[in-house]
Symmetry: C2
Subunit: 265 residues, 2 copies
């Protein structure tokens, strides 16, 4: 359907890679403009529409929740303008606020649709582990005070990899749709940030899947953190999967450490 | 004089290591509360005074300008409270805003004065080099679009190392005081930050000295950037030093990439 529209219009189809700090926004979706906060989509659409002088609809690869960041969100839009992609990228970045930037803007074919063409996505949670909450990554990491046993977390993560029913790891939308998804990979690794005369440990959980249920990444991360803190055993994850009950899984953690890293096509 | 006051009062002397994001503040000094922004010092003093129920004067190792950050600012204060340093650190951090944190709080002797006892300081400028301004380090790096030749910058930096008259590299306060200072070391190095399918280069200039004139770090950095961009030769620095004229040196760059890293005693 989307292809038909694009082709029949004979419009150019432009593909964007976006970097944004979600802290100040109500999430990706235009309809989410709430509590005095705007959405990423509406800022982009207003900016590009104003610049090109035509009504622009920016299609994202998917919605990111309020407060969630992106290093590689993908979007596309159709337009009639003859301005080169290079000039467009430069000018749009001048007009955008400092917390949303276009990293790449390229001409693509009419078939490409950032949402329907997506094959896999990688989300990453960044968790800072320290007695005192870090100042400089306070908006870009989830903060925990107790150290995390990443070996146990990796064991638990292995049980979550594959094509499985993730019903227990999602906020049920009661729409009767399938809750089976494929997680291709969960990578857990550490980075060290600088702090005065010591290092500030950051544990990162990168989850790649073909699609995610509502709150799935946040609930998986909440559960893996509890495993890392020794509050649950890695094997518990198997029972949570089997039980298919949201109450069995861990907390839905806050959005501030969550990044959409990459969308694959 | 300060020692006498402390000793005669028989008060405890507590030493702090502070991490702060200067973006939202009018600088370190209490008197600087301006334009609707508060100072770091006044936030600390109000917070600690309120907590301990006594009038607390927080002495910093030196003033940081509006917008300048710290990873290792040192301060001390005298108090009569009997609360343990450990409990004090925990409670003060709970009361402080998210952009100012106490990394260390230890008991020290009455002789210690964070400003008068300081032997050397290290400031670091962080400069992001990219066509599109980075979103996540937008408040923590100075942004330039042209690449920097760090070899040339290192040559220029070598000429600035030693005990020299830095008059040309300061905003003259016309107070007739000596403009001779000792720069012990200038270290220039690169780090790579992640960006979608490419790296985002960050050049860092760490300057260690026994003291700095007004705007000295910002003018040295502005000059080194011009050398790195090929707008000046490394040897030009020698003529700037000789000329002792502010007009000869480079720009006073913006404060957003500047960090006080460490104070040595």
């Amino acid at each position: 359907m989307h292809n038909k529209t694009a082709k029949s219009n004979n419009k150019r189809n432009l593909r964007l890679i976006l970097e944004y700090d979600g802290s100040g926004y109500a999430g990706w979706q235009r309809l989410n403009n709430t509590k005095g906060k705007r959405s990423i989509q509406s800022v982009l659409e207003d900016c590009i529409s104003g610049y090109l002088g035509e009504d622009i609809n920016v299609i994202g690869s998917g919605r990111t929740d309020a407060g969630v960041h992106a290093l590689g969100q993908v979007a596309n839009f159709y337009c009639t303008s003859g301005i080169s992609a290079e000039d467009m990228k430069k000018e749009i970045n001048t007009l955008l606020p400092e917390d949303i930037k276009v990293i790449d803007l390229i001409e693509t074919d009419g078939e490409f649709h950032s949402r329907y063409s997506a094959k896999a996505k990688t989300y990453e949670y960044r968790i800072s582990v320290s007695d005192v909450k870090p100042v400089f990554t306070r908006k870009y990491t989830l903060h925990v005070t107790e150290s995390l046993d990443t070996d146990s977390m990796e064991k638990a993560a292995a049980y979550l990899t594959g094509t499985l029913d993730f019903k227990a790891f999602s906020t049920d939308r009661k729409d009767g749709k399938s809750t089976v998804r494929t997680i291709k990979n969960i990578k857990i690794y550490k980075v060290e940030n600088a702090r005065y005369k010591k290092n500030l440990e950051e544990v990162r959980i990168a989850i790649t899947g073909d699609g995610f249920l509502y709150n799935m990444v946040r609930i998986i991360t909440g559960t893996l953190i509890e495993v890392g803190q020794g509050k649950r055993k890695p094997e518990d994850v198997l029972n949570i999967l089997k039980g298919k009950d949201r109450q069995l899984a861990g907390k839905t953690v806050n959005p501030e450490g969550l990044f959409l890293l990459e969308v694959r096509y």
